[in-house]
Symmetry: C2
Amino acid sequence: MKSNLFANLPAHLPEELCTTLLHAADVRIERIVSRGHVSPPGFWYDQEQHEWVLVLQGAARLSIEGNPQPIEMKPGDHLHIPAHQKHRVEWTTPDEPTIWLAVHYGERPQR
Amino acid sequence: MKSNLFANLPAHLPEELCTTLLHAADVRIERIVSRGHVSPPGFWYDQEQHEWVLVLQGAARLSIEGNPQPIEMKPGDHLHIPAHQKHRVEWTTPDEPTIWLAVHYGERPQR
């Protein structure tokens, strides 16, 4: 019935591992595991849905288009990325898996 | 722009502390901080929305109506509680704050 977000981490991670934890009509919750992975050069995510993202373990740097500096993300840090706000992952630590929780949803946030 | 889930933990917590992190039409993300708090005797939550809940820190025991045993929750453990599935918090550790992340949403999950 319950699962654990820190379980089932593969020893080798040739690509980012993305696991859907919940998928409902307007909401999708994902666990993403990175280990040194970054977005390809020049690639920007441009998503149809809003995204609320939380770092649970590890460390990352995220760029938001138009922001002069990347945002440093450490465990507990969370961020809202509105739909079509272009963003990319500049860096994730190679020292340990970085575990993200992402909540994608379709409606405009009220706050 | 970013916030941290482990920040702004009050030293004294006479009641559970519930902070809304995001509120959109069909989705509400909350941080709940408990320290030894439990549901009142005989009280069961009976919610209109589905809830996906994750323990980030601490330890808890959650009862689901009809389940013979409470569910032990430790950091990383997550659980889906369908709307109107009665549940209650039997125990949270008195030793440290227990930090929950709850995603409430309105649509029937597809998985």
